[in-house]
């Protein structure tokens, strides 16, 4: 135990995630909560890395069908047309609205993918016990967390379109299976980001005591 304990866990203390109060841990294997604000106290999130991995893999699995299956089924005068997200991007680009195409591409394809890649990177570096660029990784984690809540754009658009464009029998729009998977990707990545304990990034920098789990 060094005098310059950099983390609460190293000092054998638990920091409240909500109010930052330090507490001594309760008995082994017993759940503890903050005396000041009532937040559950843990040295590190329970099974954080495993949970995050599970959710990230689930999100990655859903990411494929989300992009391959149609998001919207448009029926115009008996002709049914199924649009995938990438098909919509291509259509927007081909019809000249490249700014819109760019927005959709970034918001719907690249950000979910980026989040997945970022989480995988964080997980790998934490597991490997990387000690470098901790600040950057923390910033990356925050970015992933912030962006998460804005990722449902496509789902909203699809839902609104389906609700509004019901001009039977001339035209109708129905949601495709892709929307479901897309929503699953967004929710799962958000949960994965939530499950990841960012304090783990810093544990490797001061590896004297490990309190994973």
């Amino acid at each position: 135990m060094t005098a310059t304990a950099a983390t609460a866990a190293q000092a054998g203390l638990m920091a409240c995630e909500a109010c930052q109060m330090l507490s001594r841990p309760a008995g082994e294997g017993q759940d503890a909560y903050c005396r000041r604000c009532g937040e559950a106290l843990e040295f590190r999130h329970h099974d954080s890395i495993q949970k995050t991995w599970a959710l990230v893999i689930a999100a990655a699995v859903c990411y494929l069908p989300a992009n391959m299956l149609p998001v919207l089924n448009t029926t115009t005068l008996g002709t049914s047309e199924a649009d995938t997200i990438l098909g919509g991007v291509a259509f927007l680009y081909a019809t000249g609205s490249w700014p819109l195409a760019l927005i959709v591409l970034i918001a719907s394809v690249m950000i979910p993918l980026g989040k997945l890649v970022a989480l995988v990177y964080l997980l790998l570096t934490v597991q490997r016990g990387s000690v470098t660029s901790n600040h950057e990784r923390t910033r990356l984690y925050r970015l992933v967390e912030i962006i998460g809540r804005w990722s449902m754009l496509d789902v909203f658009v699809a839902t609104f379109t389906v609700a509004m464009v019901q001009l039977q029998p001339l035209m109708s729009v129905a949601p495709g299976a892709g929307v479901l998977f897309f929503a699953a990707v967004v929710v799962l990545t958000m949960l994965a980001a939530e499950a990841f304990d960012q304090r783990l990034i810093w544990d490797s920098a001061y590896p004297h005591r490990n309190h994973h789990g």
Partner: protein
């Protein structure tokens, strides 16, 4: 050691990692997600049929992801990509076929683009105006699977219906097109399905489809001809105009029939090839089963004699002219017209009565060569059978070849071994008139003129006596009938006088000064005049106020 060891130097006990090794429940989520995704993929793979490639000349209205392949109006596939072929000359349409339609993708399946079409036969594909073009499909009969197809340019006219296909061979297509009608005795019984060049582009093969049950009327003896447009032929037989129907008149078509003079034959098998004749006349007379060729050398102009012109025997058609040309006689170094005629013995037999046909027909038709030449020789050398050019129509100047017996014709010596055999001719037309005149003169010359003179003298004497008798008769009439006639005339004159008096009396009664009839007449006339005036006023008023007819007369406003 009794004292307490330095505990701080002891290694820390390894943390039991049991908990960490245990799989968290959270792993259910990715497993579930993977299960759903894999399930979807499997479902897709199972429900997805093959991807086929169809080659089209152009992709009119075909769009990837939007165009469907329809069979009996059921979607059996969807176009997934439209690309150009490697040499940029064709369009390759890739389409995903539904699983349940996989069995339909066989060698002879047909694809075509359904779009609105307007043709003489009607308007089709109107539904595509709203739904967009789609790819039509026709199932094949083959069992060989295929994944690459060549699309048709035109929709096949023959869909799945009972009937048979036949092949017609022609020199050129004429005005025929795919979908053109096929007629049997004026009834629409089929359509032209397909045509293509064969024989290194030297002839055309036309595939027609004849619907059941009419296909059974096509036998090995059936003749097909082009019924396109109006067929006007001016020949030695006169002007012949034929059309099948208005549609055929405008668009063309094919007709077929079997010649009546042939015995009924068994129906022809599907895809039997038939020649396609230019018109009905040619179709129905050619090809006669037995034909014999003869050559005639004329000594006069054959202008007006065309190939196909009739060859007659006693004015009845027994053959036709096959060729008209020139012959160079090396011995005399002169030219002569050469006419090759085709003679159909069975047409001669066909002119005979049924009994004779049975008795002699077979013999005449199946004569061996010697017997045939013997018969011909007898007719030519003993009876004087000769060919002659005759004018069929003075209007057009068409000639034909007539065979008749000229017992007085000069004897000829023929080379009976030649093939085609040369037959003797006599001068026809104007040249023949000369011969006739001389023949008449010969007859006149040989008349017993002296005997005739005596007879005439006797006849004149007898006539003189007759005239004398007639004179006596007239005198008799004069004496007996004339006085009676005079009396009758006197009576008639009296009767006329009486009638004259009666008429004069009537005149004075009706139209005399004091007679009442004229007064009444004048009154009546005045009445009529007044009526006419009233009517005129009424009509004038009506013209100004036609509404009076409905509303009645209204008071006129000042």
């Amino acid at each position: 050691m009794a004292d307490e060891p330095d505990l701080s130097n002891l290694p820390e006990a390894a943390v039991v990692r049991k908990k960490r090794m245990r799989f968290s429940v959270i792993w259910i989520i990715p497993i579930l997600a993977a299960a759903v995704a894999i399930g979807l993929a499997i479902q897709r793979a199972v429900s997805e049929g093959p991807v086929i490639t169809i080659q089209f000349k152009s992709a009119s209205g075909i769009e990837a992801g939007k165009t469907f392949i329809k069979y009996k109006d059921v979607r059996i596939g969807q176009v997934s990509a439209v690309t150009l072929s490697e040499d940029y000359s064709k369009v390759l349409v890739k389409a995903k076929i539904a699983k349940h339609a996989t069995g339909l993708m066989v060698e002879d399946a047909k694809f075509w683009i359904v779009e609105p079409r307007i043709s003489l036969e009607g308007i089709s594909g109107l539904n595509t105006l709203l739904s967009g073009n789609y790819i039509g499909f026709q199932a094949g009969k083959s069992t060989e699977d295929q994944r690459t197809f060549t699309g048709l340019d035109e929709p096949p006219t023959i869909l799945d219906q009972p009937g048979r296909r036949f092949v017609l061979k022609a020199r050129n297509l004429g005005s025929l097109g795919i979908g053109d009608p096929v007629y049997y005795r004026g009834i629409l019984v089929g359509q032209v399905a397909l045509y293509n060049l064969v024989n290194e582009g030297k002839s055309v093969e036309i595939t027609i489809f004849v619907d059941a049950p009419y296909d059974k009327y096509i036998t090995s003896e059936t003749r097909f001809w082009n019924a396109s447009g109006i067929d006007v032929s001016v020949g030695a037989d006169g002007v012949d105009v034929r059309t099948e129907s208005l549609a055929a008149l405008l668009a063309g078509g094919v007709s077929f029939d079997s010649p009546d003079y042939l015995p009924p034959a068994a129906p022809a098998a599907a895809n039997t090839a038939f020649p396609l004749y230019r018109n009905r006349a040619i179709a129905m007379k050619q090809p006669d089963p037995i034909e014999r060729r003869f050559v005639l050398y004329f000594n006069e102009s054959v202008r007006g004699l065309s190939v196909g012109a009739p060859v007659t025997l006693y004015g009845l058609r027994v053959g036709e002219v096959a060729e008209v040309g020139l012959h160079f006689d090396a011995a005399t170094r002169t030219f002569r017209p050469r006419v090759l005629v085709t003679f159909f013995p069975d047409q001669v037999v066909g002119r005979m009565t049924a009994r004779q046909q049975v008795a002699n027909g077979k013999e005449l038709l199946t004569f061996n060569k010697e017997a045939r030449l013997g018969l011909l020789r007898q007719n030519v050398e003993e009876r004087g059978l000769r060919g002659q050019l005759k004018t069929g129509s003075y209007l057009t100047g068409e000639l034909f070849v007539a065979f008749e017996y000229f017992p007085n014709a000069p004897k000829v010596k023929l080379d009976w071994s030649r093939d085609p055999l040369e037959l003797p001719v006599v001068a026809g037309g104007f040249a023949n008139i000369e011969a006739k005149l001389s023949s008449i003169l010969t007859k006149v010359d040989s008349m017993p003129l002296n005997a005739i003179g005596t007879d005439v003298k006797d006849a004149l004497a007898s006539l003189n006596q007759t005239l004398k008798d007639a004179d006596a008769l007239v005198k008799n009439v004069d004496a007996k009938l004339v006085p009676e006639g005079t009396k009758t005339l006197q009576d008639m004159r009296n009767a006329i006088n009486s009638a004259d008096r009666v008429l004069k009396n009537t005149d004075s009664t009706l139209f005399g000064k004091d007679s009442p009839a004229p007064q009444d007449l004048r009154d009546t006339l005045q009445e009529v005049t007044r009526t006419a005036r009233s009517v005129r006023i009424l009509v004038d008023y009506l013209e100004r106020h036609p509404e009076m007819l409905i509303r009645g007369k209204t008071e006129e406003k000042p």
